[in-house]
């Protein structure tokens, strides 16, 4: 107990003197080829502490976490765990020290139960024993930390938030001392986020430490005890939470490139809205296990407008997007592109009707990695480059060179294999290819997933250009900010139905609640 003499001693009283230093990182540097990911990073983490690592996408936070977890090795610098210098060579090593990393996407086997998943790594369980016995441990943990996961449930039936909780239980079963969470809240609703944070607080009160990685400033202030800000691979600040103000924090995170972030490519031009380019009527689509994923959904997109569908991933967006693209059969309902009924006809009928598709899974549906840039650019209209029924790639190369220039695709040349390109450039290539066909409507599903800031803003620019040129865009995205920024009309999808419809400027809070299923009639 310390008497409050001034602000500083109040703060430092509890933090420094009472707590042990769990993790100490000194002078850590890491580069990938020519790119410097981390430069001379120092970090100190104590017990009973939620330490937030704050920074933009690409600032180096994930790299740092991966080094601590043994996925990468640092070029220089040391890591000390409980005062002893350690050399973490692999995740297995990290786990043996008591460090567990929970990734953004849950790494669980969908078709097995929670207990079966957890039993896999549980050394104390014999190879022929039943995984069910772990259920008892799970229930104990549930009670202690306010988690509510039934161990006998199939993982595929869990919500994202529940899957995350299973990961937390797994960490506890591994006797975690330092828990690293990488962007844990991107797919959570506000309610679920608050629940997560309360669980985390209980976890640290037992003496553990948590390193939480995020790019959201407000969240950092909400849950942390200590915040370290990373920018461009360097530590720009590291203090207890109370010593930051919101504005100061934002400035630290963003630095001088404040313009990049806030220079939102705001839709400035107004475009005349025309007739329907895409109509979805009473669509019913099943998911992979036979359940209903899209439940009587009706949407329409007109030329000159961007319609955004917001919602937490897993509420039917994937199935909806695949159905519109012709990759998934429709159980009932109709899909019309420019008035042409293409329901249950294959993908080629869609392009012929004027649809372009920017898929969420780029490598699976978007490009053939082992083919060249040129070949990927003509994937949909290769037959236009033929003479006497033979393909003439030389004509295509010219087109490729144009696209590379126009869309600023960073590549060594039209004959480079696409798998060597970065994610952002692959996305640019996909957009280039789709736009080449002058589509009337573009369906974009999570188009900026995993892209760095620069590529993201370029993609946004492209989507707006599509709108200005008189075509329509259906934007399906789990990033609410993106949807709000770009859409003229916003729909919210929850459990397979559209639960909310709003126009540009509508209340963000209403959208967030709708994403949770809370709709005020």
């Amino acid at each position: 107990m310390y008497v409050v003499v001034n602000k500083t001693s109040f703060l430092y009283g509890n933090s420094i003197l009472g707590r042990e230093v769990v993790l100490s990182v000194n002078g850590l540097s890491k580069r990938f080829g020519n790119v410097v990911a981390l430069r001379n990073v120092d970090l100190e983490l104590r017990s009973n502490e939620i330490h937030v690592l704050l920074g933009e996408n690409g600032a180096g936070k994930t790299t740092l976490a991966n080094i601590i977890y043994g996925i990468y090795r640092p070029d220089s610098g040391t890591i000390k765990f409980f005062g002893k210098e350690v050399n973490i060579r692999s995740p297995k090593d990290a786990i043996s020290y008591g460090i567990v990393l929970v990734q953004q996407h849950p790494m669980l086997i969908e078709r097995m139960t929670v207990a079966e998943n957890l039993a896999l790594g549980f050394k104390e369980l014999g190879i022929l024993s039943s995984p069910k016995t772990i259920g008892r441990v799970v229930r104990e943990v549930n009670e202690k930390y306010g988690i509510s996961v039934d161990p006998e449930v199939l993982v595929s039936n869990l919500s994202f938030s529940e899957k995350q909780q299973v990961e937390l239980i797994r960490a506890l079963l591994l006797n975690v001392k330092l828990l690293i969470l990488d962007e844990p809240t991107t797919m959570l609703t506000s309610y679920e986020r608050r629940k997560l944070f309360s669980i985390l607080k209980k976890l640290v009160s037992d003496g553990r430490s948590i390193l939480l990685i995020t790019h959201k400033v407000l969240e950092a202030l909400e849950v942390s005890d200590w915040i370290t800000v990373l920018r461009r691979g360097e530590v720009v600040a590291s203090r207890p939470k109370e010593m930051y103000s919101v504005d100061e924090l934002v400035k630290l995170v963003v630095g001088d490139d404040g313009e990049l972030v806030s220079s939102v490519v705001s839709p400035s031009k107004s475009v005349e809205v025309g007739g329907n380019v895409l109509e979805v009527k009473d669509l019913i689509v099943l998911n992979d296990v036979g359940g209903i994923a899209v439940n009587k959904v009706s949407i329409n997109v007109r030329s000159g407008e961007i319609v955004g569908i917001a919602g937490v991933t897993g509420n039917g967006q994937k199935e909806l997007s695949e159905a519109i693209a012709g990759l998934r059969r429709v159980r009932d309902g109709r899909i019309l592109i420019n008035g042409v009924d293409v329901t249950n006809k294959g993908p080629s009928s869609r392009f012929r009707a004027g649809l372009a598709y920017i898929p969420e899974e780029r490598l699976k549906y978007g490009v053939v990695g082992d083919m060249s840039v040129t070949e990927n650019l003509i994937l949909k209209d290769y037959y236009m480059f033929s003479r006497f029924t033979l393909l003439r790639l030389s004509d295509a190369v010219r087109v490729a060179e144009e696209c590379i220039k126009t869309f600023n695709i960073v590549t060594r040349g039209p004959s480079e294999k696409v798998k060597a390109l970065s994610g952002g450039n692959i996305q640019k290539l996909i957009i280039a290819r789709e736009l080449r066909l002058n589509p009337k409507v573009v369906v974009a599903h999570n188009p900026t997933l995993g892209l760095d800031l620069r590529s993201t803003s370029i993609v946004h620019e492209q989507l707006l250009n599509i709108k200005y040129s008189g075509s329509g865009v259906l934007l399906i995205s789990e990033d609410l900010d993106e949807v709000i920024k770009l859409s003229d009309r916003v729909l919210v999808m929850y459990r397979g139905t559209i639960v909310y419809e709003g126009v540009r400027g509508c209340s963000r809070e209403a959208l967030e609640k709708a994403m949770l299923g809370i709709v005020d009639v």
Partner: protein
């Protein structure tokens, strides 16, 4: 203890690929020779029979070419389906049925030469195509595993041939041995000195056409897309149905052609397993296709090589008194080694001793 690290290679030079591939081929052959030695064969004799003679002595070279031609024709068709990611192993059955159809044409049609030969060949091609249609449609419509379906068709083809040679087409003059009548001479293809020159010309034509189709045609582009990334190919509007069906038709046609050629130029009659028209070449062609790394131009040396090996293998069988299994064993060893070599092409092993 030592620690092994596996690192993915990103840039692989063609020369490295070639070297690794050749090495793996040699390893496979070496393993085969090793096995023969374990069985009590003289290693020098084995190498001599396997490599030296088939490629050097004029007599043996003729026989090697005789084997290489059907292998090459079939393998050209196989490389088209394999490039599409379709693992058809039905060449043996399609070849047999091609021969059956050609035999039917020979026995029932009366035409003048050379029309007769051409017609018989075309009928053989048709037979091969038909035999591949069932697995093809099942794959195109329902994505049924083509390995099992084509293989089953092979067994059914064997039964069909057995039925014909023991039954309706059995020759009364063969003293109880199940052979058919020889085909009328007007349907035979002459060989020069035992070398089927016409067949060889057909073979080169086939290789040329395969090259054109795979590298330069629209179908070839689609096949390549499906082989490399089927989901993207489908999402891009390329028709799965068309690609599957056309590739099967081509490979069936070529296998049927090979079977018909074998019948008309060399065997002149249908017989049971040990006298069969196919001589197991449908399976050897699979190995040839993989050796050529699915590259049409490499098909010529690959088939010559396999032809020589088959010749050598059968020679070993005769000389050392072994059974047909020789060829099978050799094929298997080589294929395994080649397939394992892919690993070394794509990854690098780093072994550290501590």
């Amino acid at each position: 203890m030592f620690r092994v690290k596996v690192l993915r290679r990103y840039e692989v030079s063609s020369r490295f690929k070639l070297v690794t591939y050749l090495t793996s081929f040699i390893v496979g052959v070496f393993l085969f020779i090793l096995f023969e030695v374990l069985l009590g064969a003289n290693p020098y004799e084995v190498v001599d029979r396997l490599f030296v003679r088939p490629l050097t002595s004029y007599d043996d070279l003729r026989v090697s070419i005789r084997y290489a031609v059907p292998i090459g024709i079939i393998a050209s068709g196989l490389l088209i389906v394999y490039r599409a990611g379709i693992y058809s192993i039905g060449a043996e059955g399609q070849m047999a049925v091609g021969a059956v159809f050609a035999a039917w044409a020979a026995y029932t049609l009366s035409l003048g030469s050379p029309t007769s030969v051409v017609v018989a060949l075309l009928v053989g091609v048709l037979g091969g195509i038909i035999w591949g249609l069932l697995p093809a449609t099942l794959k195109a419509l329902l994505n049924v595993n083509e390995v099992l379906t084509t293989l089953m068709m092979n067994f059914i083809a064997y039964s069909l041939v057995d039925y014909l040679i023991y039954g309706p087409w059995r020759s009364p003059k063969s003293y109880g041995f199940p052979l058919t009548e020889p085909i009328p001479t007007v349907f035979t293809i002459p060989t020069h000195d035992g070398v089927p020159v016409i067949n060889f010309l057909v073979f080169t034509l086939v290789v040329f056409l395969t090259y054109v189709v795979t590298k330069m045609s629209k179908l070839g582009f689609q096949i390549r897309a499906y082989g490399l990334n089927p989901s993207t190919a489908y999402a891009s509007g390329m028709s799965f149905f068309k690609v599957v069906l056309l590739s099967f038709v081509i490979s069936g046609a070529l296998a049927g052609l090979a079977g018909a050629l074998q019948l008309l130029s060399i065997h002149h009659r249908l017989g049971p397993k040990s006298w069969s028209v196919t001589e197991g070449l449908g399976y050897t062609a699979i190995v040839a296709a993989w050796i050529s790394r699915l590259e049409p131009l490499a098909m010529i040396p690959a088939s010559l090589l396999m032809g020589a090996l088959v010749n050598g293998g059968l020679a070993i069988k005769a000389v050392l008194g072994q059974s047909e299994g020789v060829v099978n064993l050799m094929n298997g060893m080589i294929l395994l080694s080649i397939v394992a070599a892919e690993f070394f092409i794509n990854y690098r092993l780093v072994i550290r001793f501590r």
